[in-house]
Amino acid sequence: MLMQRCCEKLRYSRTLNNHTHRNLADMKGYKTLVLFSLLAILLGLTSCFETFGEVTFPEGETNGYKPIYANSEDLSIVFEATRPVDNAGKIYLYGDLILLNERFKGLHLIDNQDPSNPQNLGFLRISGATDMAVRNQVLYVNQYEDLLAVDVSDINNIRLIAREEKVLAIDGGNQVPPVSGFYFECVDLSKGTVIGWEMATINNPKCFY
C-alpha cells in the first residue's frame, strides 16, 4: 500500500517532466518547470527510499525490468533470418500469415497455410514494437512511442510510408515497468527519456514496483 503511494508520487513527478517537453517554446516557463520537476522527482525519490526500506532487495544478479532509453536503439526496419520465440507478445492474422510480436524486438512472420506444419519465414526487426495491424499490405506498428506505416508488399524492399512521432506517449506512463511485482533497474534520467522496458538480468536492483 505504501509502495503504491510512492509510485504514484513518482508518476506525478514524471508527468510534470513530460509537460516540460511540451512547453519548449516557452523557455522561461520551461526552466521553472524543470526546476519544479527536479524538486518533485527528488521528493518522490526520497519517499521511495523510505518505503523501499520495507522491500528486501537481492544482491547480485536477478531477473527484473530494465529501462530502454531513447537514442540508444537502432530504429531501422529489416527482414532477417528466423530467430527463436523468446518473449511472445500479441498476434495478428493476415490471410494465412501469422504475425507474432517478439516484445520490443519485432515480428516473427509465420506461414500458416498448413496448420499442421506452420513455417517460420523470418523476423521483421522493428525495435520497440509491441502491437500491429495490417491493411492492403501496409503494416501499422508502433516503435516505442512512434506510430509507423510501413509498406511490406515487397519484404525485401520495405518502405516507410509515415512516422508519427511520440503519438503513443503516455504522460508518466514509463517511469515504472508495465507489470507490477518486479524489481527494476532504477531510472537514470541523465541517460535520456525512458521509451520502454525489457525483461533482463539486472544487477543489485534498488527499485521495485
Binding site: K90, Y92, V134, R135, N136, V141, S180
Partner: protein, 248 residues
C-alpha cells in the same frame, strides 16, 4: 525441348523463391488481431490506444496516416475490439462502448464500470464477455479475477448478467460452439448456450507455457502462449488437440 524444360524449371524455382520472399505480397484487405490488441484496422480506419486516448486515423489516401480525431476517456485503455457497428474498449477500470456511425470520429455510448484490473472483451448476440484480471495487472491491488457476462441488448445501458471467478485470465474468443478463455495457464472452454451463464466445460493445457490469447480461424484456434504459436482443434466435449506449433 530440353531447353524448354530447363527454362520451365528456372521459372518454377523463381516463382517459389518469390513466394517465400514476399509472404505478404499476394494478400489484400485487412487482418484480424487477438482480443488483447490495442491496434485495430477496419475498412478505411486505424484505431490506436494511447494511454487514456483513442486515436483515429483515416487510411484512404494511399494508406497514409491522416489523423481525424481523438477521444479522451477516464481510464487507461488496454484493448480494442470491433463488434457490429461498435467498438469495445477494455480499460483499467471499465469497459467503454462506442459507436462508429462516423468511423473517423467514434463516440462514447456507455460505460460498464468495474474495479481496477485488465480486461479484454468479446461479444456474441447481445452479450459481451470480459475477463477481468487483477493478477499481475498494472495498478490493480488484490482484487478477484473474474469472467463477466454483460447484457448489451440496450448498449446505452449495459447490465452485468453473471460474474464467475476464474484464475489469472488473459485473452478470450467466442464462436457458435464455445467461449474460449485463456485462464489458469491453459484454455478454459465454456458453453454459452444457456444465455446468462457461461457453463464450464473443460480446461486444456497448451504445451508447457501460459496461454495468453486466441484468434479463431475457420475450424481451429491459433493460440499464443509464453512458448510461441500453437494451432489447436477442439471437439464438442471441449477437449483440445495440438495440430502444429512454432516454439523457441
Amino acid at each position: 525441348m530440353r531447353k524448354l524444360i530447363y527454362f520451365s524449371l528456372v521459372i518454377a524455382i523463381c516463382a517459389c523463391a518469390d513466394d517465400s520472399a514476399n509472404p505478404i505480397g499476394g494478400l489484400s484487405g485487412t487482418g484480424t488481431g487477438g482480443s488483447l490488441a490495442s491496434f485495430l484496422v477496419t475498412n478505411n480506419n486505424l484505431y490506436v490506444l494511447a494511454g487514456d486516448e483513442l486515436l483515429t486515423y483515416n487510411l484512404e489516401n494511399e494508406n497514409r496516416l491522416l489523423y481525424t480525431s481523438s477521444l479522451k476517456l477516464p481510464s487507461l485503455l488496454e484493448t480494442i475490439a470491433p463488434y457490429e457497428n461498435y467498438l469495445f474498449l477494455g480499460s483499467s477500470n471499465a469497459v467503454h462502448f462506442l459507436n462508429r456511425d462516423n468511423p473517423d470520429q467514434p463516440q462514447l455510448i456507455s460505460t460498464y464500470q468495474h474495479f481496477t484490473a485488465c480486461d479484454p472483451v468479446v461479444a456474441k448476440g447481445s452479450i459481451a464477455y470480459s475477463t477481468i484480471r487483477s493478477t499481475g495487472c498494472r495498478g490493480a491491488t488484490s482484487g478477484p479475477d473474474l469472467l463477466d457476462a454483460i447484457d448489451i441488448s440496450d448498449i446505452s445501458n449495459p447490465r452485468v448478467l453473471y460474474s464467475r471467478f476464474v484464475d489469472a485470465p488473459y485473452g478470450l474468443a467466442i464462436n457458435d460452439d464455445f467461449l474460449f478463455v485463456c485462464e489458469n495457464g491453459g484454455i478454459s472452454v465454456f458453453s454459452t448456450s444457456s444465455t446468462n451463464e457461461p457453463v464450464f466445460v473443460a480446461n486444456n493445457k497448451i504445451g508447457d507455457g501460459v496461454a495468453y490469447d486466441i484468434i479463431l480461424k475457420d475450424d481451429f484456434l491459433i493460440v499464443v502462449t509464453s512458448e510461441g504459436i500453437f494451432n489447436v482443434t477442439y471437439d464438442l466435449a471441449g477437449n483440445m488437440q495440438i495440430l502444429g506449433q512454432i516454439t523457441s
